[in-house]
Amino acid sequence: MQTLSIRLPDIPDVAPLGAYDEDLLAEIYRRMVLIRQFELKVNELFLGGIMPGTIHLSLGQEASVVGACLALEADDVITLTHRGHGQALAKGVRADALMAELFGKGTGCCRGKGGSLHVGDMSVGALPAIAIVGASSPIAAGMAFAFKRGKTGQVALNFFGEGTANKGDWHEALNLAAIWKLPVVFLCENNLYGVSTHITEVMAIDYVAERASAYGMPGGTIYGNDPIVVYEAVRTAAERARAGEGPALIECLTYRRGGHKRDDPGTYRPQEEVEAWFKTDPLPAFRERLLQDARFSVSEIEALDTAVATTIDAAVRFALASESPAVASALEHVYAD
């Protein structure tokens, strides 16, 4: 095994934004802000004892999920993880239904039966999240299988963390996807930690993407805090998949701003590492770049910020005003007719 080798990656040269459509750039920004504001609010509600359950925040990882989801078509599907709020919002799950779900309300995207660990909305292609690490990878491959068989042209994208790449289900899924050339993109949010455990402790290789070759599929490690870098990589992989050339593994290097969940301060992370990574916060970096683009003004950006704030406020009000699900619904949805 090599010595500890995953540190702050070299941040790639910034791709010029000029090549991208203005609406796309605005939407990237809007969704990143939406996730940031949504989760800050959730954290507040949760620590305030107002929100029930348990939560895993994705603060800091917005660029990866937004870049990835906006590279997909609307009818492509994603699978989500335990850290799924950002993935859900990136794919277009409504903030109000998401917020209501976290409160366990009947208006929630899963009618209050899922909760934070299982958010999703099939109508926007977000399969309600699977919280068992690694278990979603074969399921994503299976959705891709149906797409291939039905020649629908859709693609499935499987989100997972670097810690997940040591799970048997993940391994079996990558192999199946490779041998059957399924249109699936395996997207690793490598935030260096699985709970408190650093990647170098649980893998004797440097990068998750090195495992792609074991299945005969292309793979690569990219800087995950630049949404454009992620967007480009996923776009390429999705096109390849749509063209029948099979799956790919993309590893986005990123970092979570907080601990693993609710009560975790994340103090097991070395101070220098935290500081170095915090400087790469994707949100101010992307905002800065937008402002340097002639097509965006400060007031336009601020208008986006304000609109998001309004959305979040409305979502909280909606969630709080909603009723708990009827008790009888606890016995529903066990079986389909």
Partner: protein, 346 residues
């Protein structure tokens, strides 16, 4: 279409084995619905119990998929395909291997519908050879017992060719995951031991029919005692009942057919007439459907019973290889007979 006619042209008194009936069921359902497909290990050559024999020729490799040895992977894959509208049938070589995909089944497959608030449905049939058949402990699990407590799954244990076909077709059309557990000694695939009773090979009509999941069947009418048994135990119990008939004892034999949902009413109804209940299963006696049935009758219908409920099951041990030991732990006709006679003499 042609094939179909020629099948119909066969004698209406034709007798099939369970595996022949199952093959007919799967072919009919695959013809009927393009979304039905089969996957599993080595199924191109028929799979372990010849369930898929000939399917490749008719339906091609797109719908008859040989998988790698990756049970969790291909179960998860089938779940995903089902969510997107397909109707996978997974053929397991031995039901025993499903435990390597256990999490996919009990945490994902059985719950995704519920925890998504009804957003998805997962029509998915698991074809699972179950029980002991002389291969030692790792190939002898009563799969139905292990999954029995899990909400969100259906579990079927057919015992006759007629039921196997009708139940299988219903399972394929059901919009939920169904564990279809067939005892390894019941298939009647070439070269394998077949459970022996008057109904282990049997008449299967030419006309299409469906047998509903969740409905039990009285396989033999009787008035003195009710015996509930499934799988090969049904055949052993029937043999005992037929022998006892000659000795003047009238045993009613109830085949639940489905374990989940379970036709408790049929049993209560029978017990109301006989006042005596014996429950026979192959699985070990702790935690299976036999215990549940006994508990339910003890809770709901205890007033009708004249005597305690007797259960016949394997002891709580792994299944030993040695034929001498295997046959000592798996209930045979002698123990079933004794249990019935003891209750009669109680």
């Amino acid at each position: 279409m042609l094939t179909r006619r020629s099948t119909a042209a066969q004698s209406s008194e034709r007798e099939l084995t369970v595996v022949q009936a199952l093959r007919e069921a799967v072919r009919e359902e695959m013809r009927r619905d393009e979304q039905v497909f089969v996957l599993g290990e080595d199924i191109r050559i028929g799979g372990s119990f010849l369930f898929t024999l000939g399917l490749l020729d008719e339906f091609g490799p797109e719908r008859v998929l040989n998988t790698p040895i990756s049970e969790a992977g291909f179960v998860g894959l089938a779940i995903g395909a089902a969510i997107q509208g397909m109707r996978p049938i997974i053929d397991f070589q031995y039901g025993d291997f499903i435990f390597t995909a256990f999490d996919q089944i009990i945490q994902q497959c059985s719950k995704l519908r519920y925890m998504s608030g009804g957003q998805v449905r997962i029509p998915l049939v698991f074809q699972l050879p179950t029980g002991a058949s002389g291969r030692g402990a790792q190939h002898a699990n009563s799969v139905e017992t292990v999954f029995y407590s899990i909400p969100g799954l259906k579990i079927v244990t057919p015992a006759t060719p007629y039921d196997a076909k009708g139940l299988f077709k219903s399972a394929v059309r059901d919009n939920n995951p169904v564990l279809f557990c067939v005892h390894k000694h019941l298939y009647g695939s070439k070269g394998r031991q077949l459970a022996r009773s008057s109904i282990s090979r049997g008449h299967v009509p030419d006309e299409e029919y469906l047998t509903p999941l969740g409905k039990g069947d009285i396989k033999k009418r009787g008035s003195d005692i009710t015996a509930v048994a499934n799988g090969i135990m049904l055949h052993r119990t029937l043999n005992v009942a037929e022998a006892l008939e000659h000795e003047g004892l009238s045993v009613e034999v109830v085949d639940p057919r489905s374990l989940v949902p379970f036709d408790t009413e049929l049993v209560i109804d029978s017990v109301m007439r006989t006042s005596r209940l014996v429950v026979v299963e192959e699985g070990s006696e702790r935690g299976g459907w036999g215990a549940q049935l006994a508990a339910e009758i003890a809770g709901q219908a205890i007033g009708y019973l004249d005597v305690p409920i007797r259960r016949v099951a394997s002891p709580n041990v792994p299944i030993p290889f040695s034929p001498a030991l295997e046959s000592a732990v798996i209930p045979d006709e002698t123990v079933i007979r004794s249990a019935i006679l003891e209750l009669m003499e109680y």
